[in-house]
Amino acid sequence: MSALGAQLRAELQLVSRNSEQLLLTLGIPILLLVFFDLVDVLPTGTDEPAQFLLPGILSLAVMSSAMVSLGIATGFERSYQVLKRLGATPLGRRRLILAKIISVFCVEAIQVVVLLPIGLLLGWRPSNETWPLAMFVVLLGTSAFAGIGLILAGTLRGEINLAAQNGLYLVLLLLGGIIVPMDELPAPLRTISHALPSTALADVMREALTGGSSMLGTSLVVLLLWAIVAPLIAIRVFRWS
């Protein structure tokens, strides 16, 4: 097996055996989707809450795997000197990063395969769907969130990184138009929300799957900026040991 293949297998093995990561990448998105669809407490503005919720939950799934799961795992690998040790093998940093990116995409593929049928069961119906746009936005979102996750993982100590990733996840979830529509947020928060990658991702995803985004252009630009700038900062500030 090639070095890249071996590392990818190891990354996937570690994710699949880590119950916290499974809870984060699959458990929480499924729970939120099902709970808020069945319990009518959110002002989703539609008779079928799944119609509003599913695109947001898919965005949340991207954020969970690309930012929190990747960031926490990488942060601990850094503090346990795993990254340093791997740096002394023929794998090299480029293939290590590539293995991590491919493993994130594999997890995202599993998330989509699990979440879409649940969405359909709950009443989500795709309308005016644009699958190439959805795939493109997943790509951009992955780049943006992986960049943010690695900025934290590469600069903070293991435990602090863990807390920061989880805290940020919560903020982006609540302010990102994922489960609470942006119109429901107070005006100052709404302004902040427009600049967040989670808001942009959820908005473009909603446009790609159900149509009806009011600010597609702005969201695409915001997401594109995050997708370029965050990885660049990560490359600059990341410390391997």
């Binding site: 070095a3 590392q7 190891a10 880590n18 346990y80 000197q81 795993v82 340093k84 002394a88």
Partner: protein
């Protein structure tokens, strides 16, 4: 090969103008107190750290510029873990075998370090000594021509030390250059062909154990506490001193038959016992002497 190596962290000079060579087929032990600069020097050789000045070549390669080539031929055992805490022994060893792509057999490596019955255990469930042996197995996955071992026997039990010693000996036998940084003087004495003693970023002494002991041989014996040292010194014609251990004495000459004869006769006349006659400077004493003398020079 390390020539005039300097490693600075801001104003602090961790390694100051250090030169030494580790030869293939030999075990070179780098000894020194905490903060002496051992790990910094090794990290430059491994390519983890940039030197401030000086020249370092490992297997003729520059550790950073030629890192890709070097990693294929170099084994590394870090001080600390360097392993996925939730990775299983078998999976991680197999991963490293695949990363080096040298068709080494993970099961054989695991058996070599005596972890057959721990294959399904995760790293975090292993004892400290078992973790060290697993780290050694990962270094061996490289089938290395040069291997850097940072504190390989730290926290390892007696059986584990024996295994690690055997593996190190076998590596050297097969022509590998083994470089190990350690605090464990007894271990170094058992496996090292060459010692490099660091102190405050300098090399305080380097050479084989015999070379470093030269001129510092003595005879040590134990008897009852409080013997008449002055009278014994007169009988032997050389200086006798009591060591810090109760009832232990140093005669500052080698234990020739003549010296032993005079000592035995004198103790017999005084009706005193004679135990544990040794005639070499222990590595611990040698280390203390060299570090103390280096401290005086600094």
């Amino acid at each position: 090969m390390v020539e005039n190596l300097v490693v600075r962290y801001g104003d602090i000079c961790a390694v100051n103008d250090v030169s030494f060579e580790a030869r293939c087929g030999q075990v070179t032990a780098i000894l020194g107190p905490n903060g002496a600069g051992k790990t910094s020097a090794i990290e430059v050789c491994e390519g983890f750290r940039q030197s401030s000045s000086g020249q370092v070549r490992v297997l003729g390669l520059h550790p950073i510029r030629d890192h890709d080539q070097l990693t294929k031929r170099m084994g590394v055992m870090l001080q600390g873990s360097g392993v996925y805490p939730s990775g299983r022994v078998k999976d991680v060893v197999k991963l490293f075998c695949d990363l080096y792509g040298k068709r080494c057999n993970a099961n054989e490596l695991i058996a070599l370090v005596g972890l057959e019955d721990r294959q399904q255990h995760t790293w975090k469930r292993l004892s400290g000594g078992e973790q060290q042996r697993m780290s050694l197995a990962l270094a061996l996955a490289a089938q290395p021509e040069v291997v850097f071992l940072d504190e390989p026997t730290s926290g390892v039990d007696v059986d584990g030390r024996l295994i690690i010693r055997q593996v190190i000996g076998k590596l050297a036998q097969n022509g590998c250059a083994v470089v190990m940084a350690t605090h464990e003087l007894a271990e170094a004495e058992k496996v090292a062909d060459q010692l490099v003693i660091f102190d405050h970023g300098h090399i305080a002494a380097a050479g084989t154990i015999t070379e470093l002991r030269h001129g510092h041989e003595y005879t040590r014996f134990t008897s009852d506490e409080g013997i008449d040292i002055a009278d014994l010194s007169r009988a032997l014609g050389c200086s006798v001193t009591a060591t810090t251990n109760t009832g232990e004495y140093n005669i500052e000459v080698l234990s020739t038959p003549a010296v032993i004869a005079v000592l035995s006769s004198w103790l017999h006349d005084q009706n005193l016992p004679l135990h544990n006659v040794t005639s070499l400077e222990s590595l611990e004493d040698m280390f203390s002497r060299i570090v103390a003398s280096s401290g005086r020079q600094n």
